[in-house]
Symmetry: C2
Subunit: 65 residues, 2 copies
């Protein structure tokens, strides 16, 4: 199981909940931890990092690659 | 050109900007108007409504179908 960390711009709990929901919907995502304070998204999965990155981009949030 | 209206739960301008960004990235989307106050997203496009709905869902926001 891999663990990937992304820096994502999130302004409120509505933002972080949306990212959480979008990622948890993906089959193969085991765990999502989001820190609004640290602007950080941590994902545990066997999927490739690129696929998770693409899903975060589709939320419309700004993410550091 | 069709115009579709969706009710989307958005809490802050970070939320509405994210939806705006996600939709404007789609080729074939002509115009996106978002009202945070009215929780409303209006899209002008020749694409099918279903495709726009799917893109909104991928933002992780709650949308009325």
């Amino acid at each position: 199981m891999a663990q990937y960390t992304f820096k994502v711009t999130m302004s409120c709990s509505g933002c972080s909940n949306a990212v959480n929901r979008a990622l948890n919907r993906i089959e193969g995502v085991k765990k999502v931890d989001i820190s609004l304070e640290n602007q950080e998204v941590v994902v545990e999965t066997d999927l490739p990092r690129e696929q998770i990155l693409e899903a975060i981009k589709k939320t419309g949030k700004t993410v550091q690659e």
